[in-house]
């Protein structure tokens, strides 16, 4: 007796392979799908995911399970929604997370729609996060938790979502791969890079998307907070908030990128203290709970993958925007990164950081303002 039909997004890696095998063993009717995200007929052959080898590995896993496997060409939508945005964000002086947009638009919108069109009751992936009673939670393994990248899902997708490896450690997943006979993928290397950024060279992607003459790739000044020119750089798209590498030397204390001003093509440098922020404004909020927090509420917020979440007070919350006052200062709050709100392990919602605030605002609904 089938527990329903599930589309499993399979990258050819160990996590999604184990996810498919576990669901198959649990009595689900599994359909494996590998997204083709790169353009052109020839897929890259030497990358841990999104390559022809990965497609073949996913297919081999499905063959082993005796379930259908399809390759879904989402290259043009991915190129528009993820790759193009990635380059444009750098051009705007921000630091994008393409994985968030891939999850939001490609995997859990486009692919989820295809799953629905295929009469699938569920969609599953190999993400390290958990769905508990229809709400999204952190993965059990803190070292692998990917919930930070998943705040953009629609709530109705979370309701259909199964994350079979989210309650395991990576070691357990690999052990499960061996136990399930998935030798092809059991010892595959982790994919740490962004799949469409070869060798971590994001500047090459910016150049390809926006052209050699893109302003963000032209020379510009390093300046301090007063506007004093400290040197020259080869394009602000090469920099991100908090970066030290590639900066001019000779300062009394370590200097960091503390801001990027695309209008002047300037990269602003400052000491470590200048990186500290006491408030954050995020836009494009997506809430995964029925009753989003309101001004005055306390939430846990996380401003980078692997950053420790901190307590914050909601200053302002509307359909699009969230402003929080941080209980403790955070370092290197980078526009373009995600601000994700948690309630314990539960993902409450998230958005894209618009900017950090050097000083925290006072929540409007507090008595002092109401008076």
């Amino acid at each position: 007796m089938s527990r329903g039909r599930v589309l499993v997004a399979m990258s050819g890696g160990v996590d999604s392979s184990v996810a498919a095998a576990l669901l198959h063993a649990d009595g689900y009717e599994v359909i494996g799908a590998t997204m083709k995200l790169t353009c052109g007929d020839e897929l890259q052959t030497d990358r841990p995911c999104c390559s022809l080898d990965s497609v073949n590995d996913a297919r081999r896993v499905c063959e082993t399970l005796g379930v259908p496997h399809y390759v879904l060409d989402l290259a043009s939508a991915f190129s528009r929604d993820v790759v193009r945005d990635f380059a444009e964000e750098y051009a705007r002086g921000r630091t994008p997370i393409p994985c968030v947009r891939c999850n939001t638009f490609t995997k859990f919108r486009d692919l989820a729609r295809k799953a629905a069109a295929l009469d699938c009751d569920h969609i599953a992936t190999g993400h390290y996060a958990q769905v508990v009673d229809g709400t999204l939670h952190r993965g059990l393994d803190p070292a692998k938790d990917q919930s930070y990248f998943l705040w953009g899902l629609a709530r109705e997708v979370v309701a259909r979502l199964i994350l079979p490896v989210g309650g395991r450690t990576k070691t357990e997943t690999r052990a499960a791969a061996h136990a399930l006979g998935l030798r092809v993928v059991a010892e595959k290397a982790e994919s740490m890079d962004i799949c469409f950024v070869p060798d971590g060279d994001h500047v090459a992607v910016v150049r390809r998307e926006l052209g050699d003459d893109a302003p963000s790739l032209q020379r510009g000044p390093f300046v301090d907070v007063h506007g004093t020119v400290l040197g020259e750089h080869e394009g602000h798209a090469r920099f991100t908030i908090g970066q030290r590498r590639g900066l001019p030397g000779g300062f009394r204390e370590p200097m960091f990128v503390i801001a990027i001003d695309p209008a002047r093509r300037a990269v602003v440098l400052g000491p470590r203290d200048a990186l500290l922020g006491r408030g954050v404004i995020a836009r494009g909020m997506n809430w995964l709970v029925a009753a989003p927090p309101r001004a005055g509420d306390t939430v846990l917020v996380q401003h980078r993958h692997r950053a420790t979440p901190v307590e914050a007070t909601v200053v302002r919350a509307d359909a699009d925007t969230l402003e929080v006052a941080l209980g403790a200062p955070l370092t290197a709050i980078a526009p373009g990164q995600s601000l994700v709100c948690y309630d314990g392990t539960r993902v409450v919602g998230g958005g894209v950081i618009e900017r950090g605030l050097a000083t925290a605002s006072v929540p409007r609904s507090l008595p002092i303002l109401a008076a």
Partner: protein, 390 residues
């Protein structure tokens, strides 16, 4: 989950099941009659006799002499040998041009590209909206530099039939060596090389109820040819390597059966194809049948449904147990737009939705009825699927 109905195979242009009598004829050569035809002892003689006989039987099917048949590993090798073999000889005589069409199988098209890449010249003919070669384009392409003209007889994607006798006649008059890829045509059209002015003709075993991994190339006596492979003197040096005896026998039996049943099978497939086509067009009136109006082989129905793409249609069909093909399948398993339809001037959005249903030995009226029955629902599903990422 409800039990899945038995699958319906509508992909005979991709491959066909091996016929029972073919398998039976081959089996002894995997067993007791295992000899190498090049051996002089009794095991070798036994294999040699069977292999020679297979060659004669295939020659008979084509109206050819036995020494004009070269066994190959299949259609791709036959096409490669047919073009590169003569071209390598004739390029030294000032003839370095390969003329072909943009609607060929990749086994021809990529060879023409290869010729261009290694210093020769490739000329692609213009085709009309049905994919048929335009006369004036052929005339313009034929000159004293042409080494080989290669035109596919029945297109593997659309089923459209080229006028090979006329094309070959004109190409030959211009001094060209003429090859036709008859992989889809063999067993469908009457082929008699005594009356057909081609010099080379490729066929493949697994498209006609024979095994995979065997094909043949007809090489008219006197046609200059250098081998692709180098080694022993098998097949007069044209194709060295120990002969695939069992498969050659299988090919011979399959070819004989295909020729014997040709006319009846044509009529049977044509009736079913027409029924399928008219039902689909009645239910999905905006469907576009490719090659409509041109002479078409009866076993291929290629159509596009606006608002769908091949990928979505094939998934919807596959999940309903109906096995078909889209455009040209790329290595990754995703479905690209067909170069054949593109060459015919089919708009890209329509070409990327092409679906090839190909009929054959396994097809019955009941299959056709069931496909016709579920097709509109599958189209609706495919439209939802295709709309998911736009």
């Amino acid at each position: 989950m409800p039990p899945r109905p038995a699958p319906i195979y509508l992909d005979h242009a991709a491959t066909t099941p091996v016929r029972g009598e073919v398998l039976e004829a081959m089996l002894p050569y995997f067993g007791a009659k295992f000899g190498n035809p090049s051996s002089t002892h009794r095991f070798g003689r036994e294999a040699r006799a069977a292999f020679d006989e297979a060659r004669e039987r295939i020659a008979e099917c084509l109206g050819a002499h036995a020494d004009e048949i070269v066994f190959t590993s299949g259609g791709t090798e036959s096409d490669n040998l047919a073009i590169l073999g003569p071209w390598r000889v004739r390029r030294g005589e000032g003839r370095d041009v390969v003329v072909t069409t943009p609607t060929e199988h990749k086994a021809v098209l990529e060879v023409a590209h290869h010729v261009a890449a290694i210093g020769g010249t490739e000329r692609l003919l213009d085709v009309d909206a049905q994919g048929r070669v335009r006369d004036e384009s052929l005339d313009a392409a034929l000159d004293a530099r042409v080494a080989v003209v290669s035109v596919m007889w029945i297109n593997n994607e659309t089923g459209v039939v080229q006028d090979i006798p006329a094309i070959a006649e004109r190409a030959r008059a211009a001094g060209a060596i003429v090859h036709t890829d008859a992989v889809q045509a063999f067993g469908k059209l009457a082929i008699d090389v005594r009356a057909l002015p081609v010099d080379l003709l490729a066929l493949s075993g697994h498209k006609i109820g024979g095994p995979k991994g065997i094909g043949a190339l007809y090489v008219r006596r006197g046609t200059p040819l250098t081998p692709l492979l180098h080694g022993g003197s098998q097949d007069r040096g044209r194709r060295p390597g120990t002969e695939n005896v069992a498969a050659a026998i299988g090919l011979a039996v399959a070819a004989e059966r295909a020729v014997a049943e040709r006319e009846d099978e044509w009529a049977r497939l044509e009736a079913m194809r027409d029924a399928l086509q008219s039902t689909i067009l009645a239910q999905v009136p905006d469907a576009v049948v490719h090659g409509l109006g041109a002479p078409r082989a009866p076993h291929i129905l290629n159509l596009s449904v606006p608002g769908t793409d091949s990928e979505s249609l094939l998934m919807a069909l596959d999940l309903a147990g109906i096995c078909a093909s889209g455009g040209s399948a790329c290595q990754s398993g995703s479905v690209g737009a067909s170069h054949v339809l593109a060459a015919m001037g089919v708009p890209r959005d329509l070409a990327s939705g092409a679906l090839r249903l190909s009929l054959g030995a396994l097809t019955t009226d009941a299959c056709i009825a069931r496909v016709a029955d579920v097709f509109p629902a599958l189209v609706a599903k495919a439209r939802r699927l295709a709309g998911a990422a736009h």
